[in-house]
């Protein structure tokens, strides 16, 4: 009896050993698989998923008074927190201001885009409603595209700084005067550089901000645009992989935003051939409503904001 138990115990011990070995082997295989995956991810870059370009349509935004809105000529792009790259979703929000049109001399048909990440866009504080921010915010755009204009603007900025330092404008009239002077000088500089008026149209989203015409009651500030662009981006569910041919696909959309942030109307100025893209854009906009309440400086009227959705990123 004792002899028959012995081999049995031996077999059980051996089986326990193999059980332990199998468990260890499984753990090892799992870790190896995980390690290989990490290695593989490190080797290959993240695949490009979707690139979104959101820009305002020229002239669609409302009366953004240049003299009152310091951000009228600025161009801000809201993108993912990192620097824009083709592998990430990018949003560019542009604001057009007809007053600064001559600033664009050499590219009359193309929009000038200055990219900034969303966190970098700082809201304009009431104190900064002065001449300085106008110049300082337009400066990066000029540096990127037109070095000669940037120098001119730099000089202008210095002169305005001097003036503001000496006179300390306290009233809105003096501010308006300073801005008007600046506006004139910018125009002159732009003309000297041989610029055409049309070059600016697409570069900013303020539309006919200076003249007061437009769909809405006022142009929207860049931080607000960046904010809503990021919201729309977040709600946009779209995969480029579902498009057989993504070349030339772009959707031009205008939205009418009420002061309380509700999207009142969505107008497709240009639809893409793909209904999937069109629907995804529509759903994203519908899902994003209500947007954040319009900033106080926008007034109490509704505004029109335009976007261009493309799966290829910012190419235009």
């Amino acid at each position: 009896m004792k002899n028959s138990q012995k081999p049995k115990e031996h077999a059980e011990r051996k089986f326990s050993y193999w059980l332990f070995a199998a468990a260890a082997a499984h753990v090892l295989v799992l870790f190896l698989a995980m390690y290989l995956q990490i290695l593989d991810l490190g080797r290959h870059a993240q695949p490009k998923i979707v690139s979104v370009s959101l820009i305002s349509l020229p002239g669609s935004a409302g009366s953004h008074q240049f003299s009152e809105k310091p951000g009228g000529a600025e161009a801000v792009s809201a993108a993912s927190p990192s620097t824009p790259s083709p592998s990430k979703k990018t949003v560019a929000v542009e604001k057009a201001a007809s007053d600064v049109a001559p600033v664009e001399p050499k590219k009359p048909k193309k929009a000038v885009k200055v990219k900034k990440t969303v966190p970098e866009v700082k809201p304009v504080t009431p104190k900064k409603v002065s001449v300085e921010p106008v110049v300082s915010k337009t400066k990066p755009k000029v540096i990127e595209k037109q070095p000669d204009i940037s120098q001119a603007l730099e000089r202008l900025k210095q002169t305005v700084d001097k003036k503001t330092a000496t006179s300390q404008p306290t009233s809105a009239s003096s501010l308006n005067d300073a801005l008007a002077q600046l506006q004139k000088k910018v125009k002159i500089e732009g003309d000297q550089a041989g610029t055409g008026r049309g070059g600016v149209r697409g570069s900013s989203s303020g539309g006919r901000g200076g003249s007061g015409n437009g769909y809405g009651s006022g142009g929207t500030s860049a931080p607000y645009k960046a904010e809503i662009a990021s919201i729309i981006m977040h709600n946009w569910e779209f995969s480029k992989l579902l498009l057989k041919n993504s070349y030339g696909m772009e959707v031009y959309v205008r939205i009418n935003v009420l002061p309380n942030g509700t999207i009142n109307q969505i107008i497709f100025d240009k639809k893409a051939p793909s209904e999937y893209l069109n629907n995804s854009v529509k759903k994203a906009l519908e899902k994003s409503s209500p947007l954040p309440v319009l900033p106080k400086e926008e007034g109490t009227k509704d505004v029109w904001i335009g976007f261009v959705f493309t799966p290829e990123g910012i190419e235009k």
């Binding site: 193999w18 199998a22 991810l41 569910e237």
Partner: protein, 219 residues
């Protein structure tokens, strides 16, 4: 660490409790299966080799005493074991004059040991068959459950985009993959072992009568 960037493992971190339980069961099945495979592979192979070596020796000398002495060197072989049990029975019988009774008793002892050896050989092997048969279904259950949950989430989010559908289905399919990964080696090992064991059993059946005859014809 297990974020979405880590492929399958990232998916598992978002898996539901049922899918995780299914995966745990399949992992346990796989571990036990591999333990059985490793254990049985050595056991069966040794048994086959030692049986073959002992048979060669046995037919060479055809002397039960010498064969018994040699069988001590083949303690893990099935045929040497059966032979030893017959020899012990043969030596235990005091009166060897009654040939008929001697034959019956030795044959009974040999058969008993052959049965015991057959049981020893085939122990744990049915578990491989169980894993091979059930693991894909268990995995499929996990997949079905995962897809159910996925569709439920799609309904809740009211979005049927690829981004909403694909991760859930991908996560669910991991269970089927795990089921197949557990089942395939188990089925292969089961077929191999049943074939090897059937060879040993056939040998036991065939040579049992030779062993009995050798004891009876012993001078």
């Amino acid at each position: 660490m297990l974020d979405s960037k880590l492929g399958i493992f990232g998916l598992l971190s978002d898996a539901g409790p049922v899918v995780l339980f299914v995966l745990f069961v399949l992992l346990s099945f796989s571990i036990v299966s591999w333990a059985i495979i490793a254990f049985k592979f050595g056991y069966v192979r040794k048994s086959l080799n030692e049986s073959k070596a002992f048979l060669d020796y046995f037919f060479e000398i055809y002397n039960v005493d010498k064969a018994f002495a040699e069988s001590e060197n083949y303690r893990k072989g099935s045929l040497p074991r059966v032979f030893r049990s017959g020899y012990i029975e043969y030596r235990a019988l005091g009166d060897k004059a009654d040939i008929r009774q001697l034959k019956v008793r030795i044959a009974r002892a040999v058969k008993r040991e052959a049965n015991a050896e057959s049981k020893r050989l085939s122990s744990l092997v049915p578990f491989l068959a169980t894993v091979g048969n059930t693991a894909p279904f268990i995995g499929l259950f996990g997949t079905v459950w995962g897809i159910m949950t996925s569709f439920h989430n799609i309904g809740a989010t009211q979005s049927a985009s690829l981004a909403a559908v694909a991760p859930g289905i991908s996560e669910a399919l991991v269970a089927t993959a795990a089921g197949l990964a557990a089942a395939i080696p188990a089925v292969m090992a089961y077929n191999y072992f049943t074939h090897q064991i059937s060879i040993i059993e056939r040998d036991l059946e065939e040579f049992s009568s030779d062993f009995v005859a050798a004891f009876i014809n012993e001078p």
